[in-house]
Structure formats: C-alpha cells, structure tokens
Symmetry: C2
Subunit: 506 residues, 2 copies
C-alpha cells in the first residue's frame, strides 16, 4: 500500500479527505468455493462454448474465430469454440497492466493486490435532494466530473457517469470525452459502443496524453466495459468495440450481465459457468485480434427477485458470486472486475447495506477494478450526487482499514499505560496529544454529535449532510491545468467528428 | 452449518424470514496482524498486569488474588499479577460451551465456527418513527422482547434491551427477567450488576428452566457482560457479578470499553494490549473462583473522534481492532465476543454502513457472540424499533452468504443453458420454474420496485418500511407457551425479592 500522509498544509478544499493513493489490499481473499469447483466451472464453461457456442452478431469477429479453428453456423451466427482454442489464446493475456492518466501521478495499476475504485458509469438519470431524479444533462455531468476529480479516493471516472440526455446520442461521447479531459486529470473509462465511438475515445486519449498509437499500445489509457448480451450473445456494438480496443492495445473489461433466473440459470453454479463461458469467448476474440491485449474478467452475477423478476443487487447471492468469480479469474490468470451495487431508490439504509455487501465482496474477492464504486443508485438507472459522497466515505473507510496496525515501543504505549491512573483517562497524556490529530480516520459525512446537538442542528440525516458536502466540494473545485494547445486540438477533433457524424446521419 | 429449510407451511407470521438456525461461519477469518504481533500483545499485556496491575475495588476479589500469589497494594487497591498466575488459570478455561434456552431447540453453542447474534442490550432510550426517542418504558420493553422472539435470526436477547425507566432501578431486573421468560423462549442474557441481581438472574433461570444448581453449573443458561472500568479498573458491581456468575458456572463475557485516545492509549497496539490485560485480569479471577467456569474475550476497542472526543464506532479502527482481537482470543483459547456498532442518530445510510463495517469485522473475526447485533443506535444510547428490523435483514443476509454454493449436475444447469436461445431468457425454463421460489434470499425490508411504483406507493425509505414491518410482527406475535406453574413460581420469586429490596432500601 502506498503510504498515506496527511496533507502538509490546508488546501482550498475544506472537506476532510484521505490523500490520493493507489490501494493495495493486505488481506487474503475470502474463498467461497473449493479449487475443485473452480476447475469444474472452467471446464463446464468450455463445454458450453464447445457445445452451445456463443452467438456473435459481428461478421468480422465470426470470420476471425472461424479462421482460428472455431466452428461457425452461418444460419444462427453461433460460434463453437474448441477448448484448445480458448486455452491457446488465454496464455497471451497479461496478468496485470498499467493504465495512463492525463496526470501521470494518477496512473493506475490493475493486477496483483492493487484495487482501483471507479465512479459510476452508464445511468440515464441523475438525482440530488434538491432537484430530484431527472434525465441527466450535460451541465449535471460536468458537475459530476468535478466531484469525481475532487474526491481523492476515486481513481477513475466510469466512462460517462450518466448520459447527458440533452445532447444528441450519436455525438454525446465526444462532448463527454472533452469534458473528461477538461474537468479531470484522472483516468476516465471509454464509451465502447461500436467501432466509431471507440476510435474517437482512443484518438482523443492520444491527443490529451500526447501519445502516438505505438505509445498508447505499449501502455493503455483506455478501459472499456464490454457487456455481453447474456445469455451467450455478443452484439455488434460490443463486438466492434472490443476488437477496436484490442487492436489498439486498450483494455476490454468483459462483463456478462447474468442475473440468475433471467439471463442465466436460477443457480449460482450455472450462472458462474455461463458468465465464465461468455468472458472466455470474448477474451479469445481479443487475443486473436491482438495477442497480449489487456483484458479483464468482469463479474456481474446476481439474481432476480423471486416475486417480481426485478434485478436484485447487493444480495447474499451477489456477494457469493463475486467472491467465487474472483477465485475463477485468479485461476484463469485474468485481472478481475466487480462492482458496488444496490437496488435502493434513495440514499437510505438499504442503499448502504447493499453497497457494503457489494463492496466487501469486491474487496475481499480481490477485484482489481471496483466499478460503479461511487454514485450508483436504483440498480444502475440513476447516478446520485449524495450517493457519490456516501460511497466515497465507505471507500475511504475501506482504504483506512487496509492501513496496517503499527507495532513498535511507541505504539505499544506501555509508558502511557503506566502513567494513567486506573479508571482515569488518556485524553491529556503526552502520548495522546502527540498523535491526536492524525491517529484515526477522519470522516467526511459520518456524524458523531450527541442527540441534543444533532436535533438543534436540524436532525440532518446522512443524505442531507452529503448534499451539503458535494455543494462545498463544487465550490472548492479547482480545475486541473490543461495545455491550451491540447484543449484546442481536442476541440478541433470533436468538431471534425461531429461533421463526420452529421454527414452519416444525412 | 445447520441446514436451512424453508418453512413447510405458512405460519401466522406474514413477514418472510429465514427459519431459526444456529450459524456456522464457513470462511477463514481475516487476519490483520501477524502471529508475532499477537504474541507480543499478549506478552505486553502480561507486563502491564505485572508492573501496573489492575485496581480491583471488591475486597473479596483482592483477597482471592492475593492468596493465589498476586501482590496487592492495599492503599491503591491495585493488584499485580505474576505472569505464571495468569498462565496457570488460563488452562482451565473451556474453549467453548453450550448455553441453555427455555426452549431446548433454541439452545446455543459458543465455540468453534459457531456464531450467535444477540439483540441490543443496555440503552436508556428507545425510539421509533412514530413516537421518537424517549426514555424506555416497561411496556416498550415487552414489545421489544416480542420482536426479538419473532425475529428468527436473533439467537439471544441482550440482557435488557433497554432500561425500563418507569420501573424502580433496584428491582427492574426482576420484572425484566419475568418478561424475558414470558415473551421469549430464546436465551436471554443476565443483568450482571452486583451480587444480588446476578443471584436473582441465576435463581430465575433455575425456576424457568426447572434446573437445580448442579444442572445449571454443568450447562449454563446465563451469560453476563462484564465491563471493566477502563483503564485498568474493575468496580465492585462488575467484580461481584463476575465472581457470582463464575461460582454458579455461568458465563462472564469480559469486555473492556477501550476507546483509543480516552480510555486507552491513542494507538491500536496500545489499546489491544490494555484490552487484553483487562480481560486476562478478570479471566484469572473467575478461574480462581471456579476453575473451568466459562468466560469470553470481549472486544470493544474503537477510538474517539479526533475533534470532539466523542466515541467513534463502526470505524476502520473498530474494524481492525475487532479482527485483531479475534486473533488474540483464538491464540489464548478464549471464546470471542464482538459487536454491531454505530454512532448514527437515525436509521439512515450511516447507521447501515457503520453497522456493516462492524458486522463484517465481527463475522470475519469469527466472533462467537455478535453482541448488540440488532437494534443499537446512537453509540448504544438508544434501542431503535426500526434499526432492529434493518439489522435483522443484514444478519439474515450474512446467514444467507454463509450458505454454500451447491455443485452438482442439476446446479450446473448445462441442459438449461443448452435450451435457451442466445440473447433469450431463463424465466420460463423448467429448471428456473422448479427452483424459482426457493433459489434466492427473500428480503424483509429491501425494496426492488421500480421508481414509478415506489413513488406511487409513497416513496418510503428503508426506515419507514421497517416501521411497518415491526408493527406487523407485533400483530402476528405468538407467545411461546409457558407452564402456568413455572409462571407462578417466577412471580412468587419476584414478589419475595421485591420485599427483600424494599427492606434493604428502608
């Protein structure tokens, strides 16, 4: 773990925070299944790929796989993978990788014991206590980016925290990428929907980071979430995106969306098998495109609600599936992604207990990437301004839990123990005074007032306090410097591409 | 782990719950410190007991320890323990024990991988959304007992969930014990405040369970929380209670209240050392009273808020101290107790994330007893009706997480996977329909509605939904049968003892 130091001096930011740090998990992972079962799941997954195959809608991908020895049924577009093809391609996959950020101090490592916390990505709505739940706008998104930049515990933006619904769908990724590079100097995820948008992401990363194709290929700057269309289908947009990312040496984080009972069998063994099959299918494809292209095993296995068929997240099943997925990914030698999930509809008790269940499973499953680590609400339909703050507090608490307990004569404090009268107190000892300000984690949003003060101060719950915090963070936000020439080049790229897309639409 | 079966038929209770079960944790504990450090803490703790000693205010206890070889300073009442005295007495302590309940099906095991969830004990206030926070009353307490009985996931009542402030302090334990035996057939903790009250608890257990002294001594029915007056002091009430429990073969759960920076040094190494010293001091005393009397290592190490000196709970420090305490307790061969804590002032996001941090640390620290597992709010000042429900949900989720993932041909579901069209769904398959009702955990309070329905239904947050649930549970409550002769004998005992206390006061 990077050593954490307190800020040397107060910055303009008045909300207490841990400093930026890349995290390393000091604990052994929790193992929920045996090695035999890990191997059985991988074996069954290969049987599924061989006997049932996966439907791949993109013809180029099918051709590539056929040329490598897969059987293709042209009528159903199903591709059947011989187990040796999967095995041969798996050996190319790197066990970990670096990911560049605009500010090199914010570069990331994914692999080994490192853990990266990414902000939410993908919702159509955003919400806050003042303005309620609403379709996301570009102005909202820019504010959200400022908050992600301001929260030190967040390592990565989630590839469009929510959709700016006031911008045209075909070009909103361009405005989003420009905003990412303007408001953040942290790594931001790609928007991997089809070939064109993915190319735009890579091109803009090259401009923003001033890297040519070869440099980007050596050390990637973009990670794209590639969702299969479970069960056992890869659509054109995702197929194109994963091949484009692989070709350019960028990261495909391959994440089936397998809710047991709807998109996969109503058992965890079956769901983990299907998830593994889908991941291996796309991993194989990426390695055929570019052997050694970085990829990740993404887990998003949970279940549906037994009564309604609605997604159920942050559940015991999610927890076990995540921990088991980590074991499978490690056995395959693939970097691993999990998520902080909840179906809660407001920033309340359920929102945090489901998030905590997800977070402990992600962390103790040794997820290299904890996606949607902050801000996600309502099963991923909404990005909440208050949840962003509450999650950041939870993530900071996890980071502080990683910090090892120190042992030396000073820490054992026998002299202080000898000094204090039995039944007395340690408040005033030299030992306490020396370390009082830095000894313990300082929360952002947790309240420890007594009841009477809390009532006098308006009985504000956690969501209300979080509301005040994000407003303060926005007020204190400082834009990271961006070379005007780079900004201009990005703007130029965006304009040219908007013309291109306009031409396409015409 | 006890095998969990679904209820064979709907009972009168309409709230979905897991059935009663004693839990066994299938996961390896999280280890936050090395074996060397565990040993160093125990060694330093013995140095503290030898050099600084512990002030013991009860003269009988001091005499007993002096007779066994401890040095006593009569002027300061400090007792200095030679390390060999501690070691000699430790060997008598049982590694685990059974605890009887009025209903033998609710008997408990504490030891090995078993985990017991006890409801909150000790607050002066209770609260619910309708009536707010108020001093606890006896009527409130009886309702709370009914809920603890109704919630299958709760194994044990916490020894007076909150103080019935409308009853006289000297005899309220008698009314409370009577109510425990009337409204619950689960094990209830003792109210170990001084010799007389502890004797009453033991006598009433004997009456209620129809056991003589010897039978009770062989298998205990009472567990009492013995708090040292940290730092390094044991007051008369707690000293008397622990000796009385030990004499009768009942359980002393020895729990120092060490908040780093006030009742112990502002370091975790120092706090763990002091906590261990205090536990060992009282363990030694109990074994001198009755070798082999069951005792527990209770951890309640956390920290104070750096700005205000207020207790901070459910913190990263609490989490690490709890996990480390589990390692120390296991090394000493002592059964281990931890807690579900929070300083939150309402049943909101903070209440759950602090509880979850505490709970994961307790569970993964292999606490045999998770005390205050449900209902605790506001740093232990308040027992909340809604928090009881929310915590029970969290505990059920933990229990469901313990349930192993099953593996066999049916669970791997390859035939179902073969059957479903790529991109299709598993909703309607025979495999799904067969297990749809029982495959996944069914929540009590978690909401998975869509946003529109949720709004139409009043946008109720988790606390509001919990409010409806405890009211329903109270409505559905069924009093467990109690032999009228036993009830009469208990009433008779209570009346006689009230006369005794009245005589004392006069």
């Amino acid at each position: 773990m990077t050593r954490r130091k307190r800020r040397p001096a107060r910055s303009a930011v008045t909300i207490p925070q841990l400093p930026w740090q890349q995290l390393s998990n000091p604990f052994a992972p929790i193992e929920v299944i045996s090695l035999d079962h890990v191997e059985a799941i991988i074996d069954k997954a290969q049987q599924v790929l061989q006997r049932k195959g996966i439907r791949i809608l993109d013809p180029t991908a099918r051709q590539l796989l056929a040329a490598a020895g897969a059987k293709v049924d042209p009528s159903t577009e199903q591709v059947f993978y011989p187990p040796e093809l999967v095995r041969e391609q798996l050996v190319h996959v790197p066990a970990g990788f670096q990911l560049r950020a605009r500010n090199p101090q914010h570069n990331l490592t994914m692999g080994g014991r490192s853990q990266v916390f990414a902000a939410v990505g993908g919702p159509a709505f955003c919400s806050d206590l003042d303005r309620g739940r609403r379709p996301g706008s570009f102005a909202d998104l820019c504010d959200y980016f400022k908050l992600i930049q301001s929260l030190n515990i967040l390592h990565q933006e989630g590839g469009m925290a929510f959709e700016p619904m006031d911008l045209p769908p075909q070009t909103r990724h361009l405005d989003t990428h420009l905003a990412q590079y303007r408001f953040l100097d942290k790594n931001a995820q790609a928007y991997p929907l089809g070939r064109d948008r993915t190319i735009d992401g890579i091109a803009m990363a090259g401009i923003a980071l001033q890297l040519d194709e070869q440099q980007l290929k050596e050390t990637p700057a973009l990670l794209g979430i590639i969702n299969t269309n479970s069960p056992l289908q890869l659509d054109v947009a995702m197929g194109e995106a994963s091949m484009t990312l692989a070709q350019a040496g960028q990261v495909s984080c391959i994440t089936p969306f397998t809710l047991a009972g709807s998109m996969s069998p109503a058992t965890l063994a079956g769901t983990l098998t299907q998830q593994t099959a889908e991941v291996l299918a796309v991993v194989t494809l990426t390695q055929l495109v570019n052997p050694g292209a970085p990829v990740m095993y993404g887990a998003f296995a949970s279940n549906v609600d037994m009564k309604t068929g609605a997604p159920a997240l942050g559940t015991p099943e999610y927890c076990k599936a995540t921990l088991a997925s980590g074991q499978i990914a490690r056995h395959l030698g693939l970097p691993f992604r999990a998520s902080n999930t909840t179906t809660a509809l407001s920033v309340d008790a359920q929102a945090s207990y489901e998030s905590q269940m997800s977070l402990w499973a992600s962390v103790m499953g040794h997820a290299h990437l904890v996606n949607h680590a902050a801000g996600w609400l309502e099963g991923g339909l909404t990005a909440s301004f208050e949840k962003l703050i509450v999650d950041a507090e939870m993530l900071q608490m996890m980071a502080a839990t990683f910090k090892p307990i120190e042992f030396n004569d000073d820490e054992f404090a026998l002299e202080a123990i000898m000094q204090v009268e039995p039944g007395g107190h340690h408040f005033g000892t030299a030992h306490t005074l020396e370390r009082y300000e830095t000894a313990f984690y300082t929360p952002m949003v947790s309240d420890r007032q007594n009841f009477e003060n809390w009532q006098e101060n308006g009985s504000r719950d956690t969501a209300q306090r979080a509301n005040a915090i994000w407003k303060q963070l926005l007020k204190d936000y400082q834009q990271p410097p961006l070379d005007p020439a780079i900004d201009e080049a990005l703007v130029d790229y965006v304009e040219r591409r908007k013309e291109y897309y306009a031409g396409q639409a015409a």
